[in-house]
Subunit: 159 residues, 2 copies
DNA sequence: ATAACTGCAAAACATTTGCATACAG
DNA sequence: CTGTATGCAAATGTTTTGCAGTTAT
């Protein structure tokens, strides 16, 4: 879930996949693109474009918002990051290399995000692909509701 | 799916549910609120707030955009309309009385929307509710992909 | 050298808000 | 009457875009 920093060897694999992707498409390896990548992969949580921009600024990494958005798009394009749309809020991003395939449960009270996994969703994908004759490239499954536990540890902190 | 105009008796049931909802909460029955309702329930397809605004304007029904948004929120609140968030586009709405519970498949080429239904999603909801001790009030499941059929009837029209 | 990338600020876009006016109850 | 709803236009928040200047290759 929160798999924290990626083990060094894995991080290297991902980094070179990114660099290869840039090279193959004749996209430049700029300092900004590298900084954004490093920051994204140092984060295991969900974040939005502006949070990433501010985190970089705080670390005195000079990258503009426009570049943050552009680079995130590249990362999504090469499958190293996924973009989520929860409700009508701004897009959230999450690094996607070597994470377990999961969907999301969102608390409508405190907005905490939980992750879950169910193999049946894969079967549904296959069935839908078959019925509609589609190649399904991705899906998003979000459940919304409220936590029933009296002392949910998230309630106090965010609500 | 596209169940077209609701049969008269059903429409009346829905209308009075709406009127009751307004009455119970001491919300006024304004001409605008009624017009928006009638237009929404005359439409069986997915639409966005602005499309609805323009359709009303075209019929010389004077309603401002702000009121369209406000009224849609009321309709969502009393469960007569559902709001969908497909990708990072603007919200789409759909009347929700007496429709079959369905999820969506979106073609990334022509953006056509297909609807499907799978009972397993209900079991997943129950399992997630159980594991996380949540009351789940709604979910959204969207699949994205491309149609493999050579002559998909939607390709030409929208792509 | 030169085409691509960047930062900036402006634009775009959907949605919300503030306030003076209108009107349902 | 009275408070609520409306219309308008301005504000908001996020994301995109245009362009002049910068930089990787």
């Amino acid at each position: 879930m929160k798999s924290s920093p990626l083990p060094k060897e894995q991080l290297e694999v991902v980094r070179s996949r990114y660099l290869d992707y840039l090279r193959e498409r004749n996209l430049r390896q700029t300092q900004e693109r590298l900084s954004v990548f490093e920051e994204v992969y140092d984060t295991s949580d969900h974040f939005d474009a502006d949070e990433l921009f501010l985190k970089l600024k705080q670390q005195h990494v000079a990258v503009s918002r426009a570049t943050v958005y552009n680079t995130l798009e590249l990362l999504v394009d090469c499958n190293l990051v996924v973009r989520h749309q929860f409700g009508n809020k701004q897009a959230k991003y999450e690094r996607s290399y070597s994470f377990w395939q999961h969907d999301h449960l969102i608390c409508e009270e405190c907005h905490h995000l939980f992750e879950f996994c169910d193999p049946r969703i894969q079967s549904i994908r296959e069935m839908v692909a078959d019925i509609f004759q589609f190649d399904i490239s991705r899906h998003s499954l979000n459940m919304y509701g409220q936590c029933k536990r009296e002392n949910c540890e998230h309630r106090t902190q965010d609500a």
